[in-house]
């Protein structure tokens, strides 16, 4: 050994561990940093960067099409300054810099950063404990979904009040774009963020995630990304839908930079989170937890991470190219100078379709995970559930161009893409089969989480069947770009995705907060939202069938009725969601204290005490049986076996 000084040691989980030299108090510079310093750093650096750029940019600077460049440069500098300053203020760069200079983190440092003995303050810091990160994710996600939901209400108000128009078309377009992308971001993280971080390590019997500091990085990058999206609303907005097709996006006001920066940062956050979750799942499962003993929820999160990992870079690069088009006058998407609009569409949808499954698969996995608990029987055909998830992941990367049937980019490619798209209904069908089989003859303990699962399966069926129309090129020739598409993907992303997330949050609420989610208020909220959901989107299907294009703020009289009903439904959803939110808030503050295993579940995360201790398991558990070991012997099986025996006997006697 090259270190000749006496090495201090510390007892970590019963082992004597040599420690690197401690520099000052544990935590070092991180002691002084929290969300407040992050905000100060972010806003401060943003202001300075914007001010310097404004001084350096000549006011006459303009690009080839006479657009004044000063607002662009200044806004971009402000956004970059915000991200760097915020992460600096949070202390995200402390770890890497300490690594470079060779001052390794000691056990005391690590414990400080995991939030030991910090009380509530740890939620406002760059805390590495996966449970804190999970709660942070939950709160951030609720904010994002609330913001996007607010825009949804405004959009439906505009569409429902056919006799008057509230907003200008530009602002309306900017609302639909921001609503879309905010919902997508929120829905992507709503399960893999809070539940993936909080629950998965406990579910597999680990003490923390594989890379605790990357975990903190991913959540705070998300926190840094979202304000940029909100700020773009005030800079002219994203007037191009959530997909911001080029070259229309090149015509949008400077607010487009907010979108592009948000996606670039969010994609980094997602990649880091995916790597972290995948590594955790692959390497840190408890002793004895073989793949057939791993709960299905872990598979779901793993699958979502796989898809997020390979798909998001395409989206990120599409936005980087769009950003350089805007700022440096490159011409990737400018068809005047050799750019191609189809290039953008391809890059975008290379993300776009896997991303749908990034939202859906965790939600289905949550449903499958909690069904055995409430039906008190094992998951039906575990292998098929796994096969379904694997099949979806395998096909997800091969179907992107079904969003581009009508673009004319390659008419001959419609045939293979139609084939692959319709093939995906087979693995998705496996998941439905598993759900059906688990319901089969189960004694339903009809608590709120299970009821949400019923809603998920119901919506998933409608969304799936309508998806079949859209996957078919001839039918898509009518439905593409119409309200039918909007209704379809809301059934998938909201009906299946968001209700699945509600199921998951309600189910894991006792473990995460130590209190039971109020059954009564929560159910009222859930069912109100569910009914409103059906009203809204079934009448939106009708509008689409009648031929209403999507993303329009004014339409023919013949669509009035369906839009009006749709808007009423949307208000009902809004009320239902607010009721559900109030259930979360009141239960979190003053709900019934939960026992450590209120659902009587057999999986690992419920076997540790609530509130969960810092290291989850004082002694790492050993798994000895398959998951979902519920159930009693089946009386009918005995009957069938006796029939078989009779028959063999008969055959033998003949």
């Amino acid at each position: 050994m090259s270190v000749d000084t006496a090495v201090e040691t510390k007892t970590v989980f019963g082992a004597e561990v040599p420690q690197p030299p401690q520099h000052g108090a544990a935590g070092g510079v991180m002691r002084g940093l929290n969300f407040g310093t992050g905000l100060i750093g972010g806003i401060g650096l943003a202001a300075v960067a914007g001010w310097v750029t404004a001084i350096l940019t000549p006011s006459s600077a303009s690009n080839a099409s006479f657009a004044p460049m000063e607002p662009t440069y200044v806004y971009l500098a402000v956004l970059l300054g915000w991200v760097v300053g915020f992460m600096l203020g949070m202390g995200a760069f402390v770890g890497p810099l300490r690594w470079v200079v060779g001052r390794d983190i000691t056990h005391a440092d690590a414990e400080y950063m995991a939030g030991k003995d910090l009380g509530r303050k740890r939620y406002w810091k760059y805390t590495t404990d996966h449970k804190v990160v999970g709660i942070q994710y939950l709160v951030v996600t609720l904010f994002i979904l609330g913001f996007a939901g607010l825009l949804a209400m405004l959009i439906r108000t505009e569409l429902g009040m056919t006799w008057t128009s509230l907003f200008t078309p530009s602002f309306y377009n900017s609302m639909i774009g921001t609503h879309g992308i905010a919902m997508i971001i929120g829905m992507i993280v709503v399960i893999s963020g809070p539940l993936g971080n909080f629950i998965v390590p406990m579910m597999i019997g680990a003490r923390d995630m594989a890379y605790p500091r990357l975990n903190a990085l991913s959540v705070w990058l998300l926190v840094a990304a979202v304000p940029m999206l909100v700020s773009s609303m005030f800079m002219g907005g994203i007037q191009d839908g959530w997909s911001v097709y080029q070259p229309l996006a090149s015509q949008a006001p400077v607010g487009m930079l907010g979108y592009q920066m948000t996606i670039i940062i969010f994609a980094i956050s997602t990649a880091i989170a995916s790597v972290n979750l995948m590594t955790t799942i692959l390497t840190m499962r408890a002793k004895g937890m073989t793949w057939s003993r791993t709960p299905i929820f872990v598979y779901g999160i793993f699958a979502a991470s796989v898809m997020g990992l390979y798909a998001f870079p395409f989206f990120q690069y599409a936005q980087i190219l769009g950003l350089t088009d805007r700022v440096f006058s490159t011409s990737f998407f400018d068809p005047l100078n050799g750019g191609s609009v189809w290039l953008y569409e391809n890059l975008f949808w290379l993300l776009g379709h896997p991303e749908v499954y990034v939202i859906l698969i965790p939600s289905m996995a949550v449903a499958l995970e909690l069904m055995p608990v409430f039906l008190r029987k094992p998951l039906f055909s575990f292998n098929f559930a796994v096969a379904g998830i694997v099949g979806v992941v395998a096909l997800s990367g091969l179907v992107w161009a079904h969003h581009m049937y009508m673009t004319g980019w390659a008419p001959a490619a419609n045939y293979p893409f139609m084939l692959s798209t319709e093939m995906i209904s087979i693995p998705v069908g496996f998941l439905v089969l598993v759900a059906i089989g688990t319901f089969w003859r189960g004694t339903a303990w009809t608590r709120l989480p299970l009821m949400a699962v019923y809603a998920v399966i119901f919506n998933k069926m409608i969304g799936g069947v309508t998806g079949v129309y859209l996957s078919d090129v001839p039918a898509d020739q009518y439905f593409h770009g119409s309200m039918f598409v909007v209704a379809h993907f809301h059934f998938m992303l909201m009906g299946a995705g968001l209700f699945g997330a509600m199921a998951g949050i309600a189910f894991f609420f006792p473990k995460m907060t130590g209190r039971i989610l109020d059954e009564r208020v929560g159910s009222i909220g859930l069912w109100t939202a569910f009914i409103g959901f059906q009203i809204t989107f079934i009448s939106m299907f009708v509008a689409g069938l009648q031929g209403q294009p999507r993303r329009v703020l004014d339409f023919d009289d013949q669509f009035n009725l369906s839009n009006w009903i749709s808007t009423i439904g949307a208000y009902i959803i809004g009320i239902g969601m607010l009721i559900f939110l109030s259930a979360i808030i009141t239960s979190w503050r003053s709900g019934v204290i939960a026992s450590s295993n209120p659902w009587g579940s057999k999986s690992l995360e419920w076997q540790t005490e609530t509130p969960v201790p810092l290291e989850n398991f004082p002694v790492l558990p050993v798994v000895t049986e398959r998951p979902y070991n519920y159930g009693v012997p089946d009386p009918y099986e005995a009957e069938l076996e006796s029939i078989d025996e009779d028959l063999t006997e008969k055959a033998g006697t003949k």
């Binding site: 890379y211 790597v275 998001f312 190219l321 100078n337 050799g338 750019g339 189809w342």
Partner: protein
């Protein structure tokens, strides 16, 4: 040496081999994400090359004649020429040298040759700096600007991606060197040097992809694209 126990992580108490295994997996996964991003660039380059929309993939030094363009549009066709291709290969060579040095350093660390590690990591760092400078010189001396059509855009972004990779390598390489100097990388704890070697190998491949694209996919195969905004072919 034989008496010393297996080194363990100071924070979690796990054996360093476990940590190394985990870190390797994480690196491979991060490389997957990086590969996807690089493939996005490759797709962009080859897609624009194959389409030559509106004749905007750089026509080498020539401008379109009046009847070849849509005269109603306020646009000046690109006059860019193609970049010289050998610097791409030269920079690739420099990066390969840096990678080889890093591999040498890492192998030395594994076999307990501390001096070899210092030499490998240090020289690799210096060569990476050289590659960065070369890349910067190449980027700033292209015979075109970012605004000169699709070819110019695609090539410049490939170079920008290279520069981004080189900056990452510099940061990590500096860390490896400093840590090697402090004795934090040695015969029993060499995985971080290994990770950098792996990552540098991938960066070489990324550079290679860029060099292949810019060498073998220059003149667009589509010689009569549609003229923007009209129903005419060029």
């Amino acid at each position: 040496m034989s008496t010393s126990t297996l080194p363990v992580s100071p924070t979690t108490g796990e054996p360093i081999t476990t940590i190394a295994r985990r870190a390797r997996l994480g690196l491979w996964l991060l490389i997957v994400a990086d590969v996807a991003g690089t493939i996005a660039l490759v797709i962009s380059y080859s897609y624009l090359w194959s389409l030559n929309v509106n004749g905007g993939w750089a026509p080498p030094g020539a401008t379109l004649t009046a009847n070849q363009t849509n005269s109603t549009l306020p646009t000046t066709p690109s006059t860019a020429t193609f970049a010289v291709e050998w610097p791409f290969w030269a920079i690739l060579f420099v990066v390969v040298v840096a990678t080889a040095l890093m591999w040498f350093g890492y192998r030395s660390a594994r076999s307990g040759n501390h001096a070899g590690l210092m030499v490998g990591a240090g020289l690799s760092f210096l060569v990476t700096v050289a590659a960065l400078i070369f890349q910067w010189i190449q980027m700033s001396t292209f015979p075109f600007d970012a605004g000169d059509g699709a070819y110019a855009s695609a090539v410049l972004l490939l170079c920008a991606s290279n520069i981004f990779h080189l900056f990452l390598l510099l940061f990590i390489g500096m860390g490896i060197f400093m840590r090697a100097r402090k004795g934090l990388i040695d015969k029993t704890n060499w995985y971080q040097a290994q990770l950098l070697s792996y990552y540098m190998t991938w960066v070489c491949i990324a550079f290679l992809l860029g060099a292949i694209l810019t060498t073998f996919m220059v003149e667009s195969p589509n010689t009569d694209p549609a003229i923007f905004g009209t129903f005419k072919q060029q």
